[in-house]
């Protein structure tokens, strides 16, 4: 884990309220930033509002940089998304456990993204080669299906891609769990990674449990610290256990989360 100020190399708008920020990073950081891990970010100035850093998934890393994709949800994310290239951002990370390294045993991998959950799911596509694999991406409307073309390109022939929207403005109309049900119908031995809003993850967990499918959920609980101290992100788990989403997660075993 590193604490540093990084310059914004590029700020690219992907949708009305979604931006991609490319930030400077040292090689050690880049090495540690594997799929599903995250950073805490705040603008590196002395202004105290917003006060706390905000968590964002590390979408991908390159030589000397990493990328986050930020959806403007409130003041903290709006502020970050509005920063220009050249401005400095305070970074803490990589944090969290990331997605498990799965054995390449030929079993298919299904990636399920809801809304901005794609940031986390994309990190899997950008850093690991699974074959076969499917990406199921649900969003409120077409405009929020960000990164889709890049993901298709990266995934190439190995990765099936399907999108679904709440309003039918792109792909099918409906919820991403419908796509998941259909996929698991065919790939009953698949393993699943999912990231998205709480209610979606709850549905995904239900589907996986009903079918006895193995999976992992990446949670987005509110965080104050990101490194296991404030106990703000704590998630109730099966059997009275509590997980700190920031250090025990954000990726937790499906079936164990009590929503």
């Amino acid at each position: 884990m590193y604490l540093f100020d990084a310059e914004i190399i590029e700020n690219r708008r992907l949708a009305d309220d979604i931006s991609s920020l490319r930030l400077e990073a040292r090689p050690e950081f880049v090495k540690a930033g594997s799929a599903g891990r995250f950073v805490m970010l705040a603008s590196a100035d002395e202004r105290l509002d917003p006060l706390l850093k905000r968590p964002f998934g590390i979408v991908r890393c390159g030589r000397g940089w990493f990328e986050v994709v930020i959806k403007e949800a409130g003041k903290g994310s709006r502020n970050l998304a509005g920063l220009r290239a050249g401005v400095r951002v305070a970074v803490h990370g990589p944090l969290g456990n990331g997605y498990p390294e799965l054995e390449k045993d030929g079993r298919p991998l299904v990636l399920v993204a809801g809304g901005i959950g794609i940031a986390s799911i994309a990190s899997v596509v950008f850093s690991r080669n699974f074959d076969p694999a499917a990406l199921l991406f649900g969003a409120a409307r077409a405009g929020e299906l960000v990164l889709l073309e890049e993901l298709k390109k990266t995934g190439g022939g190995r990765l099936e891609v399907a999108a679904i929207t709440d309003d039918g403005s792109s792909g099918r109309r409906g919820l991403v769990t419908e796509l998941l049900e259909e996929k698991l119908e065919k790939w009953s031995d698949a393993r699943v990674f999912a990231c998205g809003p709480g209610p979606m993850l709850q549905s995904v967990q239900r589907v996986l449990q009903a079918r006895g499918v193995e999976g992992w959920l990446s949670l987005e609980n509110r965080m104050a610290c990101g490194f296991g101290v404030c106990l703000g992100c704590v998630q109730e788990m099966r059997a009275g256990v509590r997980a700190k989403v920031c250090t025990d997660g954000p990726v937790l075993v499906a079936g164990e989360v009590v929503f």
């Binding site: 884990m1 105290l48 509002d49 006060l51 706390l52 850093k53 903290g76 509110r222 101290v229 106990l231």
Partner: protein, 307 residues
């Protein structure tokens, strides 16, 4: 280099006046990847209870303007696990350890004090009589001078360790509270704990926090903390006061010392940057050295009257 040593209490001298506040520094271990915790004035542990506590359900934190609300509900691993699993690490790391604790009743407080008495590696106890998130005990003790005094007296009887009482700011008259616990045997005072606050979510039409209300901390509360520290120091000049509330940089900490606080604790700022306490110590030295102070104690309490 200014000598930053402070004698917080007779027999308890700290390398510097910068402590980390309870509930914002875990059990110390969580911060060791980032800073040398033995270089702090002291580490104050997460508030401990007799039995482990699960804390509050639902959303536990939310940001407010220059502050945050928390309703963690005093989740902690309980005294026994702390003594077995965490204290040895702290001891080995060379950190000065202040144990913060609370109970659901006076008897629990007393039992905890007895259990902690004489344990090797504990420099002092900090009694939390002021957590706003526990309905059973906490809040009554923290806002009524009579019960606070009784509680402190019961704890005092069970331990020979230095006793610091952490006061709640949610009172009409902080000086009366301070006086009550000092007369009951508290050696020192920590102030302030969090202000009781609330947030609502317009989108859902519900309170943000699972617990409805929560404790407000961070820079937003610094003016209230400074005022209370000032009032208590003026009223009880002999009693060591630890200033807490909204400290994010050396200047903030120095403001408390100027008013007469003998030490400070850093809370919320640890979440923003785990290196804050170390930066505060360095900045304090720089500020005082530049002004020719040989010892931080020459600076403490040197507030001049308004003009």
């Amino acid at each position: 280099m200014t000598d930053l040593k402070v004698e917080l209490l007779p027999g308890l001298t700290l390398a510097n006046p910068v402590l980390t506040a309870s509930g914002t520094f875990g059990y110390g271990r969580e911060y060791s990847p980032y800073i040398d915790i033995s270089s702090l004035g002291a580490v104050v542990t997460k508030g401990l209870s007799l039995a482990p506590r699960a804390g509050n359900p639902g959303v536990r934190i939310t940001e407010t303007a220059c502050g945050m609300l928390n309703a963690i509900g005093l989740e902690n691993i309980g005294i026994e696990r702390f003594l077995k699993e965490e204290l040895p690490f702290l001891r080995d790391s060379g950190a000065v350890v202040v144990v913060n604790f609370f109970g659901n009743s006076q008897a629990e407080y007393a039992e905890l004090a007895a259990r902690l008495d004489g344990v090797d590696g504990i420099a002092a106890l900090e009694i939390n009589i002021s957590c706003p998130n526990v309905k059973a005990g906490g809040i009554q003790f923290g806002t009524d001078p009579g019960s606070a005094a009784e509680l402190v007296g019961a704890v005092r009887a069970k331990t020979s360790l230095p006793l610091i009482t952490k006061l709640s700011p949610n009172v009409t008259d902080i000086v009366t509270m301070a006086r009550a616990v000092v007369e009951a045997g508290s050696d020192a005072l920590s102030l302030i704990n969090t202000l009781l606050g609330m947030a609502v979510d317009l989108q859902t039409g519900r309170p943000v926090l699972g617990n409805l209300t929560g404790g407000l901390s961070g820079p937003a509360i610094k003016p209230v903390a400074l005022r209370m520290v000032y009032q208590v120091v003026q009223a009880l000049p002999e009693i060591p006061v630890i200033g807490i509330g909204g400290i994010v940089c050396a200047e903030d900490a120095l403001e408390f010392l100027l008013l007469g606080a003998r030490a400070v604790q850093i809370g919320t700022a640890n979440f923003i940057d785990p290196r804050t306490a170390i930066a505060v110590i360095a900045g304090m030295d720089k500020f005082l050295s530049a002004r020719g102070y040989e010892k931080v104690t020459d600076f403490i309490g040197t507030l001049k009257p308004g003009r």
